[in-house]
């Protein structure tokens, strides 16, 4: 269990003591959440919201004004009881945005920096260099100097270095922010691997919805120094439109089990995965999703994570013809925040949710299939949903 209750005030000043500017204002940020471990907690919010200050506070590199940090029963900080474990004894591995590899050490010695000290401090080193370099593909880099690495390679080494310090908690402070899109995808893939292979609890800071959707098991949305919401990703309260541009709306995240692999229709092309999700008194829903090119990394029975975007969900009062799109199923329209059933002539406002089989799909405004125009939906009404397409996000971290 990750338990965090913190009030952090942080006067943010630029490095190298640039001239004092009006932006040197103090940030005050409050948060409180409990998340099950292992898992990935994503602190999500716009840049400059003070998320990084929270990470520094949890790592012990910044003293919070007050609060409490407990990781799996181990108290790292408790202002009420006067506990403040120094950073070097917290065993929180941090991956910084800029990697922060030691420039005078080669990759191998960077990787070993925390490992050596963890061994010296006693306690077994269960995460070993060969395993980490295998998972992160670091073998060819071991003899290289940090300045010869690309941005993506640098972040992989930083991730490996933090892991090898045998952390009880891994802190990722916007680890992908300094990378281009291609490198982002590459490092994100490795982050998923690390999440699933090593099962170290992680707290991850990001302003990218896509990153959070792929990585998180638990989301804490932060804006204006306050915590707007904290909940498991699949149960995240939605819609959260009041935060404006930073609204956390990854679509609907669905966890399901791979039950079948179908050959492509025309013989060639990528395979189609059939993922079954649901329960909760409704018949389970089967989603069909393209596996993508290349060898299939999944086996039958694996739990996978899918995403359905609001604009890919259509509702109708009549059943949809079978075999269309990714999935069709029956459900009930749920009343949700942002609903405006009374507005005449609207298709429906954003925020309309369809609940079926324990899934809550959000249907978006902005499309108008003929059958729906002029129809107003009220909470509790039965409806038939058609999911025109859904996206495979990767493996679902184990159930929590």
């Amino acid at each position: 269990m990750i338990e965090v209750d913190l009030v952090v005030t942080h006067v943010h000043h630029r490095q190298h003591r640039a001239a004092p500017s009006p932006t040197n204002a103090a940030i005050r940020i409050e948060t409180s959440f409990r998340a099950v471990t292992p898992g990935v907690v994503s602190l999500f919010g716009r840049s400059g919201a003070g998320k990084s200050s929270l990470v520094l506070a949890i790592a012990g590199l910044l003293r919070p004004q007050s609060g409490r940090i407990v990781i799996d029963g181990e108290v790292l900080f408790d202002s009420g009881r006067g506990i403040d474990l120094p950073a070097e004894r917290r065993r929180t591995g941090v991956v910084f945005q800029d990697g922060r590899l030691f420039p005078h050490l080669d990759v191998r010695r960077n990787l070993e920096y925390g490992l050596v000290r963890a061994r010296r401090a006693g306690g077994g080193a269960s995460i070993s260099l060969p395993v980490v370099s295998g998972v992160l593909g670091l073998e060819p880099l071991l003899a290289r100097a940090p300045w010869t690495l690309s941005g993506g390679e640098r972040q992989r080494v930083a991730l490996g270095r933090a892991l090898l310090a045998q952390p009880r908690l891994l802190l990722l402070d916007e680890p992908l922010a300094a990378l281009d899109d291609e490198r982002k995808a590459e490092v994100l893939h490795y982050l998923q691997q690390v999440r699933d292979e090593f099962r170290v609890p992680m707290i991850h800071v990001s302003h990218s919805i896509d990153e959070v959707a792929r990585l998180a098991t638990f989301v804490v949305q932060i804006d204006g120094g306050r915590t707007l919401a904290a909940a498991p990703l699949t149960a995240f309260p939605r819609p959260l439109v009041d935060a404006g541009a930073t609204a956390f709306d990854p679509g609907t995240i669905i966890a399901g089990q791979l039950v079948a692999v179908e050959g492509p229709a025309g013989g060639a092309g990528p395979e189609v995965l059939v993922v079954e999700a649901g329960g909760f008194g409704w018949p389970p829903v089967r989603f069909r999703v393209a596996a993508g090119a290349g060898a299939l990394p999944f086996a039958l029975g694996d739990r996978l994570r899918l995403r359905v975007r609001p604009e890919d969900v259509l509702l109708a009062s009549e059943p949809w013809p079978q075999g269309q799109g990714s999935a069709c199923f029956e459900g009930v329209v749920a009343a949700g925040a942002g609903d405006d059933a009374s507005s005449p002539g609207s298709v429906w406002s954003s925020g309309r949710r369809l609940v079926a089989g324990g899934l809550a799909l959000r249907a978006a405004a902005g499309f108008s299939p003929a059958a729906l125009v002029g129809e107003a939906w009220r909470g509790g009404e039965p409806a038939h949903a058609l999911v025109t397409r859904c996206e495979l996000l990767g493996r679902e971290p184990m159930a929590y």
């Binding site: 012990g60 590199l61 070097e88 917290r90 910084f96 800029d98 000290r117 963890a118 300045w147």
Partner: protein, 230 residues
């Protein structure tokens, strides 16, 4: 150029005095530079000013102050002599102390700049990886400030070779004991027909200085290549 015995003595003595001087001031200079670069405390400005004092005071004044405090009847000098049997006045060790004091601010400045150039984030990263304070200093800060330390040593060494005023005031001008190159040149100029000797000694000084500069440049390049900067 074949050196006379007296010339050899002056050159050798200068090198010994300068080497000892650097060895004396280095540990303290690293400590002071680190404190000035990384710590904030009341009276920091005063410490900073005190460190820079030898740069702005006439060297003769520094020599005189050393004589007052470290002389045989001075408070520190007397204690050193009665406790350790250590005598600084009129000895080559005293000459090293005088040059160490004079070159101290130069060394501190060079080291301080190199510490300020180190990203404190690297030390924070080392902390989160389990390195305690002294461990961090030895494994991260010290190797990264090495270029500055080397530069500071070369500058201090060169300044020590050339120091005149503080040396002659504190330890006088004794051939074979305290007569370093600049003092030897001064003495040569005081004697009739000493011009040619002075010229030879000046040439020697020039060659030593040039050698020092080339060496420091070479070292700096090696370090840069290793760290991949520049």
């Amino acid at each position: 150029m074949i050196l006379s015995e007296a010339e050899q003595q002056a050159v050798w003595l200068s090198l010994v005095v300068a080497t000892r001087s650097v060895a004396l001031s280095l540990p303290l200079a690293v400590a002071v530079a680190w404190v000035l670069a990384r710590r904030n405390f009341p009276g920091k400005t005063l410490v900073d000013a005190l460190v820079h004092l030898p740069l702005v005071l006439p060297p003769v004044v520094i020599g005189y102050l050393l004589l007052l405090s470290l002389g045989a009847r001075g408070p520190i000098g007397g204690w050193l002599e009665s406790t350790f049997g250590l005598r600084l006045v009129f000895t080559s060790l005293g000459a090293s102390v005088a040059t160490a004091v004079m070159s101290f601010p130069l060394m501190v400045r060079a080291i301080r700049l190199s510490i300020e150039a180190i990203d404190p984030g690297l030390e924070a990263a080392a902390r989160s990886l389990g390195a305690r304070r002294f461990d961090r200093f030895v494994s991260i800060t010290l190797p990264l400030m090495l270029p500055g330390v080397l530069a500071g040593m070369v500058i201090a060494f060169a300044a020590s070779l050339g120091e005149f005023g503080a040396v002659i005031t504190f330890v006088s001008n004794i051939p074979g004991e305290t007569q370093t190159l600049p003092l030897a040149i001064y003495s040569a100029l005081q004697t009739p027909d000493g011009d040619s000797i002075a010229l030879r000694l000046a040439t020697l000084s020039f060659m030593l200085a040039l050698g020092g500069l080339v060496l420091s440049e070479w070292l700096a390049r090696r370090v840069k290549r290793r760290y991949g900067r520049g």
